[in-house]
């Protein structure tokens, strides 16, 4: 079943400026769309609006059938919340079985829990479970009603790293054939789970495309920065501009994993900072008035002068310079 949403909604809270969400996206049958964006960009509000939790304008359609005026319980969605939202007064089994009385065709709770690796928790109460266990139960509750579309709101955000990785692998299996909209601010998760990614900022979808398109050909400096690309204003980096075979102006982006360095290359740079990450180091180089990041297994010392290689085909012109005024 495909989902199309073109919704507009305004949210206001005491003491805060009202926030406007105005976004459109489409998810094909069996496709996982990840909505990626910084905190406060309106991702969760968009997902909740599509689910029918908030009044909105504009259509939400399932296979062309308009469901905008349908209450949430009739929309045939499954929803997984960031903070699990399990019913604390019900056992795990009753949580998973919650929707069974409202749906004709539901999955067996015990079987589903066993598949998700929490089959021994059926008689426990949610507050006695770890975060990872609770989220697996929440996933089971959503899957139990065999929803046409799964909506997932940062289900991994509250989990520690090992649990997150383990559950992400399981989610990849679960979402492989499902129609799903998955909200996250984590680009690694987005890349791992997405068939397509919609980047959201300030209540609007600013770019939508495959992971490769989003990560390698960002539509704006904001998208490039948020997805971890180097964003280089060539006005501030003349040595990079002159190193490019095809001279250009404006702002270009390049993935840090595409940047190589050594004793020879295109651009002279100085190591400014080294941050050790899981498997490698993230090295920040100073080039003219800009910085460029790259990954390295062995990083040279801070202050070392090296040569950077920026493969021309990896350099993406993100925003061309405005034509000079006559």
């Amino acid at each position: 079943m495909s989902l199309h949403a073109d919704v507009s909604a305004t949210f206001s809270a005491d003491g805060a400026e009202s926030f406007h969400v105005d976004a459109e996206f489409e998810v094909e049958r069996g496709e996982s769309l990840v909505i990626l964006g910084p905190s406060g960009s309106g991702k969760t509000l968009l997902l909740e609006t599509v689910a029918g939790f908030h009044p909105h304008e504009g259509p939400v359609t399932l296979d062309g059938q308009r469901v905008s005026d349908t209450p949430p319980e009739k929309r045939d969605f499954g929803f997984v919340f960031q903070d699990y939202a399990l019913f604390p007064h019900m056992t795990v089994r009753k949580n998973v079985d919650f929707g069974s009385r409202y749906h004709d065709d539901t999955r067996d709770a015990a079987e589903l829990l066993a598949e998700l690796g929490v089959g021994d928790l059926t008689d426990r109460y949610p507050p006695t479970l770890s975060g990872g266990e609770q989220q697996r139960v929440a996933l089971a509750r959503a899957l139990a009603v065999r929803p046409e579309v799964m909506l997932l709101d940062e289900p991994l955000a509250a989990l520690d790293v090992p649990t997150r990785q383990s559950l992400r692998d399981d989610l990849a299996d679960v979402l492989a054939d499902a129609t799903a909209v998955y909200v996250t601010h984590n680009r690694t998760t987005a890349r791992a789970l997405a068939d397509r990614i919609a980047v959201m900022n300030d209540g609007q979808v600013v770019q939508i495309g495959t992971a490769d398109e989003i990560f390698h050909r960002p539509a704006s400096p904001m998208v490039a920065r948020f997805t971890g690309s180097n964003v280089i204003d060539l006005d501030d980096a003349p040595s990079i501009r002159s190193a490019l075979d095809t001279p250009t102006d404006g702002i270009v982006t390049i993935r840090p994993e595409a940047v190589a360095f050594g004793d020879s290359g295109d651009v002279r740079a100085t190591v400014e900072r080294i941050v050790r990450e899981d498997a490698s180091s993230r090295v920040t180089f100073a080039v003219d008035d800009v910085t460029v990041e790259a990954f390295a297994d062995r990083a040279p010392a801070v202050g070392t002068e090296v040569w950077l290689t920026l493969p021309e085909d990896e350099v993406h012109v993100c925003r061309a310079a405005a034509p000079a005024a006559d």
Binding site: E48, A51, G52, F53, P71, P72, E73, R75, F77, G78, F79, F81, D83, A85, L86, F87, P88, H89, F98, G99, R101, Y102, H103, Y125, P127, A138, R141, A142, V145, L151
Partner: protein, 326 residues
């Protein structure tokens, strides 16, 4: 590193409960001694001094000692009259009153009438509390109206009820003056804010996402209230009901104005009897029989009130609010 607390007095070694029991026993002995020699004032100073010394022995912290000393002065103001009231009772009169049929009727009416008021407050207050927890246009106005009885002198509340529902009021066919309906109405007027506010706080403490989770997995608003919201707020409702009941038990002003004496069905008599609400009865006894007789009735009433108080404490204690589950 050892803290100052540990070096002075090991709470772990003695335990909180034995320490509290020992403190209480010493207080009782000191009061009995002071009362026996006819110097209750000495006990007041002993209580303040012993609290300060105990606070120093346990914490050795000037802030805690100052707070405990100031607090004990208030405890003297609240507790000493109570201790003296109990100590100065004449057992013969108390026993006589305890077997007095008029007192039995008073106690029956003093529990039954407030129970009706608490039920009315909850039946109509819970839906209002739910609306208030969700918010709506004009909410501040409704909130003010709900809280109004808290600031209106209660004799004034009685007069307001007579204007509203008495002769020439909104329902001229319903008699409120000197009737059970009038008494329950007066009690409801003063106690409903407790039921509404306690229940509202319980609703507000429930995460919206639990209701979202219920709706999206198939439950209608009614079912969501029945299966999720109400069970999670039930302790707040019970607490609100008990508070409303306790408030109605202690109501004097409004009841005295609207229904000084009321006729009601009294099961032990198998028919209608006329009696007065407990505080009104105590006041009447004081005017007619003096301090000793009214004191004995008040003593019995105090026992009932203490039971209600203990019930409220039990219902609002941490162990019961979590229910061992949540």
């Amino acid at each position: 590193m050892a803290t100052r607390t540990e070096t002075r007095f090991s709470l772990d070694g003695v335990g909180r409960v034995p320490l509290a029991v020992a403190f209480l026993v010493v207080q009782v002995l000191a009061f009995v001694a002071a009362y026996t020699v006819g110097r209750p004032t000495w006990y007041a100073f002993f209580m303040i001094g012993s609290t300060a010394v105990t606070a120093y022995a346990v914490h050795g912290d000037s802030f805690v000692v100052a707070a405990a000393t100031m607090g004990s002065i208030l405890m003297v103001a609240l507790g000493l009259p109570l201790f003296l009231f109990v100590a100065r009772q004449q057992p013969a009169i108390v026993v006589e009153k305890a077997f007095n049929p008029d007192v039995h009727r008073m106690l029956y009416l003093g529990v039954y009438g407030p129970l009706l008021a608490a039920i009315v407050s909850l039946v109509f207050g819970v839906p209002l509390a739910h609306l208030l927890s969700e918010g709506f246009a004009g909410q501040p106005l409704v909130e003010s109206l709900v809280d109004l009885p808290l600031v209106v002198p209660h004799s004034v509340a009685g007069i307001i009820i007579l204007f509203g529902f008495g002769k020439g009021g909104a329902f001229p066919n319903i008699s409120v003056l000197g009737t059970m309906i009038g008494m329950v109405l007066a009690m409801t007027f003063v106690s409903a804010p407790y039921a509404v506010n306690a229940t509202r706080e319980a609703f507000e403490s429930i995460d919206d996402r639990l209701e979202y989770a219920s709706r999206i997995h198939g439950a209608s608003r009614w079912d969501t209230f029945r299966r999720v919201t109400a069970p999670l707020a039930v302790r707040g409702m019970v607490t609100g009901g008990v508070l409303a009941w306790a408030r109605a038990v202690s109501e004097f002003g409004a009841v005295a104005v609207v229904a000084y004496s009321v006729s009601f069905f009294y099961p032990p008599a198998g028919g209608e009897v006329t009696a007065q609400h407990a505080p009104v009865f105590v006041y009447g006894t004081y005017l007619q029989g003096g301090l000793a007789e009214s004191g004995a009735v008040a003593f019995i009433l105090l026992g009932v009130s203490a039971l209600i108080f203990l019930l409220v404490r039990y219902l609002t204690s941490d162990s019961t609010t979590t229910g061992g589950v949540v």
